[in-house]
């Protein structure tokens, strides 16, 4: 058994590339870092979006690596305006298409998708997103959550998890790094009473793919929060990006679930949770944490997971979590 070979979720999904659409909408040649979980997510999300769609994208890593004039990696009609306004641009697009269709100037309504990073979504773009969700536009918003402002050089955002080292939340004599808990953006989206909200991760391609499909097909606003592993910012090995996504799910740090008309459901349900340290210890951004903080993160993760399970009406997984010694004995 290799060191990280214990992947419970392999029981749930089988990756069969030939069953997925072959057409590429996010082309190779973009400038994303090696091992970019976000680029992987974009590739599969755009496949799930399919034809007849228009994408509005926020300023950020993905915009910068994919759209340097005069080149583009986007096969969809695509627009970038600014950092904090993507949901507003998308709402304008959706409204514009709607009136043109009503006036008979447009035969078919394109699907409208907005995309932005965690900074562009949970911080500076939150107002525009809230407005667009509240107005009930028929669009899907996808948040690429790599848990910091990676494009500008790994500064903390409200989506940065507790304890993480970033360039603006550095650990020091008086600090353990990020001292706040990750903003619960999914709960904020759910609170708008929109028909579809989900979390996803490109380490679970089928789960991601079908959630995007469902979001696109749902009339009204849909929100998908995609955990996007960032080796550059997380200080992790580039070949571990997919595995880190799986570990985030298997430790309960980033559960995969969907909320359909307010009803929660876990879509990937590990029967046992791994210790969070499995996830933390292979990331340089958590390297400075002592046992005390690691234990705190473990407790917090379990408490949050339990709350989620209660919302899902699901049975509680076997606790305590799998011990590290148990894993090693396998």
């Amino acid at each position: 058994m290799e060191k990280f070979g214990y992947a419970q979720s392999q029981k749930f999904d089988t990756y069969a590339s030939r069953l997925m659409p072959r057409k590429e909408y996010f082309t190779s040649g973009h400038r994303a870092c090696q091992g970019c979980g976000e680029a992987l997510a974009v590739r599969w999300v755009t496949k799930a979006i399919g034809e007849d769609a228009v994408i509005a994208h926020a300023t950020g890593c993905m915009e910068i690596v994919s759209s340097g004039m005069p080149q583009t990696a986007w096969m969809h009609p695509w627009i970038h305006v600014a950092f904090e306004n993507t949901a507003a641009v998308a709402s304008g697009l959706e409204t514009g298409f709607r009136i043109l269709a009503r006036k008979g100037k447009l035969a078919k309504l394109p699907k409208v998708v907005a995309m932005g990073g965690d900074g562009g979504t949970t911080d500076i773009g939150l107002q525009a997103l809230s407005g667009a969700l509240e107005r009930g536009h028929n669009f899907t918003y996808v948040c690429w959550d790599n848990e910091a402002y990676m494009n500008t050089g790994i500064q903390r955002s409200s989506s940065t998890p507790y304890g993480a080292m970033t360039t603006t939340s550095p650990p020091g004599k008086l600090s353990i790094g990020q001292t706040t808990q990750k903003k619960n953006m999914v709960a904020i989206a759910v609170a708008h009473g929109i028909p579809y909200v989900a979390t996803a991760c490109p380490s679970y391609l089928f789960d991601l793919f079908f959630k995007v499909k469902r979001a696109i097909e749902t009339p009204g606003p849909a929100y998908i929060h995609v955990l996007s592993v960032c080796p550059t910012g997380w200080r992790s090995a580039t070949e571990l990006s997919v595995r880190l996504g799986r570990l985030a799910v298997e430790t309960g740090v980033f559960p995969l679930f969907e909320v359909v008309n307010g009803k929660y459901r876990l879509t990937v349900e590990p029967p046992k949770l791994r210790p969070v340290n499995d996830y933390l210890k292979i990331q340089g951004r958590f390297r400075h944490l002592r046992d005390k903080e690691r234990a705190f993160i473990q407790r917090h993760t379990l408490a949050a997971y339990q709350l989620l399970l209660e919302k899902c009406g699901a049975s509680y997984p076997e606790f305590p979590v799998i011990s590290e010694t148990e894993e090693e004995s396998e």
Binding site: E51, H76, P77, I79, G92, L93, G96, K105, G131
Partner: protein, 391 residues
């Protein structure tokens, strides 16, 4: 042809937008722009205007949504004022750089602080360099006319630039005036439906808003500069065509009783009508004073201005805004810069008047003329003056 109506200027502007058959409107309420968007919302709600009215959660989102609407291919309109324009600021540059022909009414109002809802030009002057076509209206009729013309100018494929019509807040927006409206058929003929050059169309996918490295940015900005400069000819063509239709001809620099005038007042916006009264009274008293009204602010009509000041000894620019710590008010700085290359040029003095709704009467302009003459005689003592400051 046409019919006369008496109505509030804001309502007239909303009728102009209706007659222009705007298809998509995104707006956020701010005094004194509110009456325009309220009436548009009501027209949409009653089916009198076939459009979508999007109630966004801020002006920043209003301009962002307008870009989306325009990128979708819809004829797009919005209106704002003061703090709202300031909140839009970031997106204004992007709208023009991406060449979306959005039309916007700015009900000019002072900028905070201190908070002040009344009229001056501080808001638009802070957004002077956004790369939009910018026009100032003097009265209700001009507000109506220029709103219709703005769509035709902006959407011209040789122009493709967003356009702002400036209306003085309250002084114009909230006043009832007699105006002549065109008939709908006339407007339809003058302004056919919008045919965008590029849209976000799945059948012809394009990337809009790609970022530019140093080796591209300068070229893109140069193209923008040329587009705005070259829009001048198209603006004049549209104004001429509209003049033939309505009998109302407009010029980048309007002259009022400038024949033989050695002293010229220069102002933008509705206070020009007040200045006209002052000029009339001065002329009656035998004083050869004339008035220039700057209608086209961007692109700046350099040649028209140089011709208009020919023969004058003194141009008194009455700014409605400040450039704090700078040379003078923005208009005065621009005018002096435009006239500087002339071999024989008049003296240019700056008097900023009517900030934050301070009342301006004909006597104000007469005072300004008297003070400026005295200043010229003894040599300018300071860079510019803020008129009427209490000690």
């Amino acid at each position: 042809m046409g019919h006369r109506v008496g109505m509030e200027v804001s309502i007239a502007v909303s009728h102009a937008v209706q007659m222009a058959r705007a298809e998509a409107i995104a707006a956020y309420p701010i005094t004194p722009q509110t009456h325009i968007v309220e009436h548009l919302a009501s027209m949409v709600a009653n089916g009198e205007l076939e459009a979508e009215f999007l109630n966004v959660e801020s002006e920043h989102s209003a301009m962002s949504a307008c870009i989306g609407m325009s990128a979708a291919g819809a004829r797009t309109y919005t209106a704002t004022s003061s703090q709202g324009l300031a909140l839009m600021y970031e997106i204004l540059f992007i709208a023009s750089a991406m060449r979306f022909p959005i039309v916007m009414t700015v009900a000019n109002r002072a900028l905070s602080g201190p908070l002040n809802i009344w009229n001056d030009h501080g808001d638009i002057m802070a957004a002077r360099d956004i790369g939009w076509i910018q026009i100032f209206a003097e009265n209700g009729q001009e507000s109506y006319d220029h709103t219709i013309m703005a769509f035709k100018i902006a959407e011209n494929h040789k122009v493709l630039l967003p356009t702002i019509i400036n209306l003085d807040g309250f002084i114009l927006t909230h006043v009832v005036e007699a105006q002549e409206f065109l008939e709908q058929e006339q407007v339809d003929k003058f302004l056919p439906s919008y045919h965008p050059r590029f849209t976000l169309d799945p059948k012809r996918p394009v990337t809009m808003g790609a970022f530019a490295m140093p080796e591209m940015y300068t070229e893109v900005k140069f193209a923008h500069e040329m587009a705005l400069r070259n829009s001048y000819d198209q603006i004049l063509k549209v104004w001429k065509e509209y003049g033939d239709l309505s009998g109302r001809y407009y010029h980048p620099v309007e002259r009022y009783k400038t024949e033989g005038a050695k002293v010229l007042l220069l102002i933008m916006g509705s206070l020009a009508e007040v200045a006209e009264i002052a000029v009339d009274e001065l002329r009656e008293a035998g004083d050869e004073v004339g008035l220039l009204k700057l209608r086209l602010w961007r692109p700046f009509p350099f040649q028209d201005l140089r011709e208009a000041v020919n023969g004058a000894d003194l141009v008194i620019v009455c700014d409605r805004a400040l450039s704090l710590g700078g040379a003078a008010g923005p208009v005065m700085a621009e005018v002096r810069s435009a006239l500087y290359p002339l071999a024989e040029k008049p003296a240019v003095l700056g008097y900023t008047v009517g900030l934050g709704g301070r009342d301006i009467q004909p006597s104000t302009f007469k005072d300004v003329v008297r003070l400026a003459r005295a200043e010229l005689a003894q040599g300018p003592q300071q860079e510019f003056h803020i008129f009427g400051v209490r000690g």
